[in-house]
Symmetry: C2
Subunit: 166 residues, 2 copies
Amino acid sequence: MSDTPPSLDPVQLGAYFDLIEVTSLLRHAVEQQLREAGELSYVQFQLLARLGDSPTGSHRMTDLADGVVYSRSGLTYQAGLLEKAGLVVRAPSPDDERSTTVTITDAGRTRLAEVLPGHIEVVSGLLFEPLSRDDVEVLAGLLAPVRDHMRSTPPRSAAPRRRSGR
Amino acid sequence: MSDTPPSLDPVQLGAYFDLIEVTSLLRHAVEQQLREAGELSYVQFQLLARLGDSPTGSHRMTDLADGVVYSRSGLTYQAGLLEKAGLVVRAPSPDDERSTTVTITDAGRTRLAEVLPGHIEVVSGLLFEPLSRDDVEVLAGLLAPVRDHMRSTPPRSAAPRRRSGR
DNA sequence: TATTGTTATACTCTATAACTATA
DNA sequence: TATAGTTATAGAGTATAACAATA
């Protein structure tokens, strides 16, 4: 509580509101598509996509928790659902017995492939339709630094127990 | 399933992912701030802010439901919470007996004022810090048409049949 | 002791459908 | 009949804290 003047000019305010509104609507539409096309929540889709992107098809729980915003117990819950559905498997990590390695299964990849086209279609039709190629490039150029800034600011998933340096 | 080429180029994909990630992190931070500073969920804050912005301090339930994405029952639930907390009042509309008019109370305005500085500080520090004034203007210029487009797209259940040129 | 992950639990939120009442 | 809103209910998702196991 020092010298930060808390105010947003009208342009900032508009950008902020539009950002929230746009992603809210987009998320809503995408979640519906994922649910209908493949019985997946958005978080589950993100996890599957992340695993599918990995060269090994695997990630440690902690890495997934850092990538996806939520808490560890939340990740355990979601990973449990995915495992129950046969889309991933969990196994102790070879190098560190404390860690759990999550790996996407063939069924998981299949499910991902089933869902992806519709997903892309929604995003394409809803988000990118009114944007030219140049627009998209500009947008990407604006968002990347913001993302980096947010990522570098506070550690997320590992909730600091007691005194958290700040 | 034939002529729809569902694909996003790398730039689009990056923009999409960054958009989701950025708003996810932002939302998370903002929700925490709102909760700590004023016992408000984000939806509740949006409702209060919308009412506070109105010249009359009032809106019909339907208008609020249209503004905030969720279902009517969800709005009833949230409005109930706000009313229980004394931040809004509900009354039958004078002109249309079916409608309910929601009005922000003085306590609601006070709460809003308590929460707003911290809210703006979070948004400012997290979203706008890495962006210049020009950047923000460009961003706003990109988001506005997207928002309009999304708002004007009525049903998105299962109508992916459109392939215009690209 | 610190880290990784799980479990138990409690709670918030959202959606669906049935219902009331007004137009 | 159509619209506005509420209620009941059921389910998904998240966070917190306590816990066990490994480093």
